[in-house]
Symmetry: C2
Subunit: 241 residues, 2 copies
């Protein structure tokens, strides 16, 4: 039934997510039982269970002992499904817009004291600075500044494609995978630059996201500071327990 490019569980998850997305299992509907799914895919019930547990943790489905697994019908309201808050491209696209990234600035400069501390570098170490504008259906929605340690890259920093999402950029040019991220969310009056690029009045209330991304070994990979126009793009999170 299934071939093996990735794990069985990953394949099952991919198929189920696709069915949920395409409405094969419509919102509110009851899904097949664990045994039925296991039989259909030719895997053990345990494998199906790990997948369903993950989908439930992300709020896509609701499970009731003695009853069944149901498709969460309230997810249409929400954009950021737990794992795409950090990836603005995903966030924009899952809100139903077409996402594009425009590179505004690319500099190589020395790390400030704060940056050095956060990235576990010595002050003055080389950084690649990227300023980028994220557009949703052509409308500017996020202004993002990112700094990367130069030592991270396997290619000259000029070769780094600034129009890629961060995850891809790290994978492709640094051979690194993001393992976790810490995001701090603040409300601030729009500074001049953000107001200009996002077409808001100076001082208007805006969201500012300060993110740090780390690798598997807990190495700091990237820092970022972003201004987010929540009038166009809504920041909404699903949490499940």
């Amino acid at each position: 039934m299934l071939v093996q490019p990735k794990s069985l569980a990953a394949q099952v998850e991919h198929i189920l997510r696709k069915r949920l997305r395409e409405g094969v299992y419509p919102p509110g509907a009851r899904m097949p039982s664990e045994s039925e799914l296991a039989a259909e895919f030719g895997v053990s019930r345990a494998t199906v269970r790990t997948v369903l547990a993950k989908l439930a943790a992300h709020g896509l489905v609701l499970r009731r002992q003695g009853d069944g697994t149901y498709v969460n019908e309230r997810l249409s309201q929400s954009s950021a499904h737990f794992g795409n808050l950090w990836d603005f491209n995903c966030l924009i696209e899952s809100s139903g817009f077409a996402a594009t990234i425009r590179l505004l600035k690319r500099e190589i400069r020395a790390a400030s004291e704060e940056e050095a501390r956060a990235l576990a570098l010595r002050p003055g170490a080389g950084l690649l600075f990227l300023q980028r504008l994220f557009l949703a259906d052509g409308k500017p929605v996020i202004l993002a500044d990112n700094v990367f340690p130069l030592t991270l890259f396997r290619v000259p920093p000029e070769a780094v494609d600034g129009t890629r999402p961060i995850r891809q950029l790290l994978r492709e040019f640094a051979g690194r995978e993001i393992s976790f991220a810490i995001t701090e969310i603040h409300a601030v009056p729009a500074p001049q630059e953000a107001a200009a690029f996002l077409r808001r009045e100076l001082g208007a209330a805006m969201l500012r996201l300060k993110m740090s991304f780390y690798g598997k070994d807990s190495t700091p990979l990237v820092m970022g500071q972003s201004y987010f126009d929540d009038q166009v793009l809504h920041l909404s999170l699903v949490q499940a327990w």
Copy 2:
């Protein structure tokens, strides 16, 4: 080794979280292997694995194939561990403050059209409205409005203790468990009421959180709108993959 008040996995999780909290496994340290933990607790490796997977998903530990499981040392920076964003009491306490709730207003009124839609009621249905102020070490940090359908409660609405966290309140007075929540995060200029209670200037940039809580059967339980003073309390989220 373990008695059975809850599931084995829940007990193991409780013990490991406690050890992490108390520094038995200090930040950055390598934890015992799955087999060692399984032997210590007298459970199968599979049971240990489900627990470690959960801790990893919440960002508490990092796992590396062929190497080991390590305590995430960057979590001290973060307050909201993606499971307590919705519970302001937890959020305040895990930021290191003492949390108290002050009940400002308690009303019984009819549902507006928007409220009725969101709570799946007919317009004009009875609601319990609570306005509450959350204090961190005595300083006001969150102003929260909540509306509950009156039909939810098993006791007269006057008997509902307005100084409890929402989860407890629903459990105790309605016999309901929260299954998931959807939170929308905006930056807005502080309205008069919020500015007054949170001691900020009128129009200052503030976070507004609009939350909806749902039960296992996807029933809407509560709606809330909260103003959050992010100058005292930081809103920071950990995400892991």
